[in-house]
């Protein structure tokens, strides 16, 4: 298993700060997961109240993003972390941007769910949206789990599942486009369903980003913009290299 074990520092407080940041990211992730989940339920079960609730809960996620960012910057300034500690901080700074944008997509799901539910009609494509939503939710959940366990192998496997999401998304938009041609009076409703599918597909993309950051964190290897299905990448259980270890060469310098 290609997993990272974070350094232990002589400074108990530094350990605590890094642990605190990780826990906050996981709490933010949990909240975002809940939003996506509620957005989907609202959409699939025509639950207007839940939809309204999701579309109004985005500010909690936004506040968490700003607070975690601030904490990361404080740690960079006070602790001058190197090697895997530094990668953890940079990873967190990037990952919370994606979590915040997943929150935005969940908010959109809630908004469209509210609009669709107010039309008092059971719309089609629930089966397809449920299937797409299920794939995306489990990708998000597993990405956060890979981050929690610092598991690069798992992250690579999860990222590859985005291909299935894209296929399902393409199939659904093709169906919707055909339907639009056949029944143009329903264009507004069908376009809303298209935007929901699009929001789910984007959540899959952001989950891939999180997976890529986990690989970077664990292996010190930047795999963005590379072919994630490459066998070399999967096989390469690269060690935690120390290319980011700077002048500060021992952890006892953390006071």
């Amino acid at each position: 298993m290609d997993k990272l074990h974070l350094d232990q520092h002589i400074s108990q407080q530094f350990n605590q700060e890094l642990e605190d940041i990780r826990n906050r990211v996981l709490a933010m992730g949990g909240l975002v997961e809940q939003q996506v989940s509620n957005g989907l339920i609202a959409l699939l079960e025509n639950d207007g109240d839940l939809a309204e609730q999701v579309s109004r809960s985005d500010h909690l996620v936004n506040t968490m993003e700003v607070e975690i960012d601030e904490e990361c910057i404080q740690v960079l300034a006070r602790r001058a972390p190197t090697a895997s500690d530094l990668r953890l901080i940079v990873t967190v700074i990037k990952a919370i941007t994606d979590l915040e944008r997943i929150g935005d997509e969940a908010e959109k799901l809630g908004r469209f769910a509210a609009e669709l539910s107010s039309s008092n009609r059971t719309f089609e494509y629930r089966k397809e949206l449920r299937h797409l939503g299920g794939l995306v939710r489990s990708m998000l959940q597993d990405s956060l789990d890979a981050f929690a366990r610092l598991d690069a192998d798992a992250a690579l496997n999860i990222a590859q599942r985005d291909d299935d999401v894209n296929v399902e998304y393409e199939n659904l938009t093709r169906l919707l486009t055909t339907h639009l041609v056949e029944d143009p009076r329903r264009v507004t409703e069908l376009l809303k369903i298209t935007w929901c599918a699009r929001a789910l597909e984007r959540i899959g993309d952001h989950s891939v980003n999180i997976c890529e950051y986990v690989v970077y964190l664990v292996r010190g290897q930047d795999i963005r913009h590379t072919d994630i299905s490459s066998d070399d990448l999967i096989r390469n259980a690269g060690a935690d290299d120390d290319s980011t270890r700077g002048n500060k060469d021992d952890d006892s310098s953390h006071t």
Copy 2:
């Protein structure tokens, strides 16, 4: 004018590294601007070759993103920057993610332009797309200029222009939706035009993000998720506070 003057360090090499990072970001920004510009020209002038070129040039932007990230992490590890130097590095790490995503949107413009041009028909809505594209292009250009000049006042003004972009975008999608109802046989073409408008609107959003980072860099004030049109924000010419200045308290520690 609320502008930041970056510290000068005793270490000439550190000065040079920070300057180099800023220059690289501006070079990446220039390339992304060019892609957006070419994507728009390809779209508006039915230029299939230029469209193909844009849709294939994304890898250059991707490579720049990975390289700048790497350089930032090296500087964090070796120089342990604090205060405005640290904010510069964090700002760059965030801003290049937005630049890369603007590159993705430009690539989409190119792809749709190529598909629309191959239909050998002059499509409508060029006037609207030209107008929307013009607003967005100048927002992107001015955001990068605010970053180059470290000008927070300008950044705040530019960010507010996103309201106009959103109004134009809403108007155009409303027109397109009405047209879809009237002429459903052209749904594929009209949806492609809708996606182009959406890509332009997203470029506006990413430009706002860049502006927000510039304000953070100059003022040390995080204005994400706040009402950017607030008069308080505009009037508050907050000084470069040193809340991120850590244990390392003088620049001569950079060796």
